[in-house]
Symmetry: C3
Subunit: 312 residues, 3 copies
């Protein structure tokens, strides 16, 4: 694994999930593998879980950590050949190569514009870091993907499943603001690699990028989709075809305990209560959201450990 | 001590002050008690002393520290049962439980609204953290209290007093902006636990919460209150009865060297020079403000040490 | 070395550069010299390189590091005797002395106003820290100087020069915004201490502070100045005489590969591509900008090591 910018960077997902579960039993068992190594975490956007869990993961491995909000540095330019006489004062070419000299691994969070579909789909920012940095890049959520979340979700599913091949539903849910597709996309990538019966459900118009969903089964009737589900992974996203738009409020798509039945409830957090899911779901015994967040640490830790091993 | 959100969490104040004074002699004597433990510091508001001293205290004990300004994460909801379709995107129920998984102790700073008396008086934010977190909570200044400051002040008084039972005056002083009551309240809590002759002085209308001051002596004439004082603890606060209001400018309440006489001058900092106290007071030999700030480290360190001891 | 606020704080520049080059070979060779010591980094302004390289340097020496953006603390007052009833709530007198108690070395970044020439030239902020702090102060770029950059540039020149006495040109270049003189001034200080043939070139009106340039040679024709140059150090700065003004756009002063010829190209970064220098310069083999940034770590590390040695 040279970088970790997508779940596809993992060759053997089951083996990595198993390693993460072993790490979780004693998070400090490799606490000198990161000695004299530095993780630099660069944030273009807000973060709670990703920031705290990734920092913790790195320190559990004995790494030093520097956290920088890009808003405290310089506006960055990502286009080639630009005459930089406007709002950007530092080109990614210099930034990525320079920062590579201060750290051994660089983790980056950069959300999509949700207005420029071509730029977002091309993953300009995270790919520019990969191109110009000279050290491994970790994706802490990019324009179209969130592979640390996906790996944590894989760990959670592995720990929680009681069927050999569970039925997993990815359900869209309402939200007042336009949100990225990255968590949903990351979860689709995960589903493609796990032995599950996978169904996606959302209102018409909220189809995800067909290059990502490929031949995943889509059921437009939420109730039908939820039938016999073992896990319901819930997430809002804005329209992909009518890019970045909130098409309607669809309050009846909110997840209720009644809809859920015996299925386990998953969500990446933060979650808007009584909009995305009702209190009863989040406060009930079927909710896995706290455990998913817990597994963020071990997902990050297993990824950093793999990258550190290959640095040596 | 399960949490440290008020001076009342300390069972034996004299013993804790004594431990802090011992720690100060060699701050590194317990530098592996915090090994593999993480302090997460969450700031809803500005901080200089609290942030740097608490971070130093934790590291003196061998802890790892993560510092997060909530403005770099998500707007947090504290009310129960809300339909979260407005400005808040993460509920404290999830936030507190999730963050508890990334750290072993959580420290929180959250100032009052000064507009919603009921919310502030109920200590909604810090109490929500106590309720939903699964690890100890440290109060780095909440709506109505500042117990790390109070403990540092207790250490300073213990170190500086020459009388067995000194006379200590808490004096209101003018300030251009509406300020919280937390430092004054915390100091009143401290006075209730120390063997002192305690007097509060302020203009009429600035009475503190009677549930906190209880039967403390209030003298409305500052000159009279200062007579034979050993220590004058100065602080501005806004009105409690006319909640959060600045009633008048009262420039004649500023602390001068002449008023102070031989009394030692105390203030929590930051202080507006020549508004709250004149330069001569702060630059004179009777000022203890720098030593109070120094003791913030040892107050935090003794608290963290107590909490760590009980984690094991 | 009591503080490091100017290159003049270094007694023997060659010896320090040699030590830095030795540190670079094994950055962890003194990794316990900073044990139980804390570097506090205070930022009044944006930073990428300075922040990450100085933090890394301190940690390479085994120090703990606290990073604080002053915007997350209190507005600071630097004038003596002010009645602080306006926008500032903490005086440097308290701030510097208090912070000295939480750290063993304080590093400060504070850019000039570019509107108040007297204040900037007097170095009010960094000099106030020197005056009131009780620990060593490191200048991470002040109103008129950037000595960590200058030292890194000295290391780079020493590593890269092939002539015993190279010709070094400091060239002004265009920029859309008004920039400080600090990097240019710092480089002039460096040139005064190295065995070089030094020439400054800029359009008329952009003369640097004559108290700094002294009798340095100024050539107003860029092409003539560049003749037979071994190194071209490029930087924009605003006018000093017409203080803080951008006089004209002067696009023809941009550095091109053709102008540069065989000379090595230097710049402190961040750099606006195709405004200050064309892509071909930065992407070409003669650019030293990445290596200059790399040497920021070792410049900071050698300075911190010197200061730590004298603390003991």
């Amino acid at each position: 694994m040279q970088h970790y910018t997508s779940l596809n960077d993992i060759q053997d997902l089951s083996a990595i999930i198993e390693k993460a579960i072993q790490l979780k039993k004693n998070p400090f068992q490799y606490n000198d593998i990161g000695k004299n190594k530095t993780l630099i975490m660069l944030f273009f956007n807000a973060s709670l879980r990703t920031r705290l869990s990734t920092e913790r993961a790195a320190k559990n491995l004995g790494m030093e950590v520097s956290v920088l909000n890009i808003s405290n540095a310089w506006n960055m330019e990502f286009e080639d050949g630009t005459v930089m006489n406007l709002n950007t004062s530092e080109h990614i070419k210099e930034a990525a190569e320079v920062v590579s000299q201060y750290g051994d691994i660089i983790a980056v969070r950069a959300f999509p514009t949700l207005t420029d579909k071509a730029k977002d789909t091309s993953e300009l920012i995270i790919n520019s870091f990969k191109k110009y940095a000279t050290v491994p890049i970790v994706n802490m959520e990019s324009a179209t993907d969130h592979p640390l979340q996906a790996l944590a979700d894989g760990i959670t599913l592995e720990e929680q499943k009681s069927e050999k091949k569970p039925k997993v539903v990815l359900s869209w849910a309402p939200h007042p603001k336009a949100l990225p597709h990255s968590v949903a996309n990351g979860f689709v990538h995960l589903m493609n690699k796990m032995d599950v019966n996978f169904v996606i459900t959302h209102p018409s118009g909220y189809e995800l990028d067909p290059n990502i969903t490929k031949n995943a089964q889509v059921v437009y009737n939420q109730e039908e989709a939820f039938k016999d589900a073992d896990f319901v992974y819930t997430k809002n996203w804005s329209s992909f075809s009518d890019y970045g738009k909130v098409l309607q409020s669809d309050a009846d798509w909110m997840i209720t305990q009644k809809k859920l039945g015996k299925a386990k409830f998953m969500h990446c957090l933060p979650i808007r209560r009584n909009v995305v899911a009702e209190d009863a779901v989040l406060d009930g015994n079927n909710s896995l959201v706290i455990e998913q967040a817990n597994n963020r640490t071990y997902a990050a830790q297993v990824v950093l450990k793999e990258l550190l091993t290959q640095l040596k």
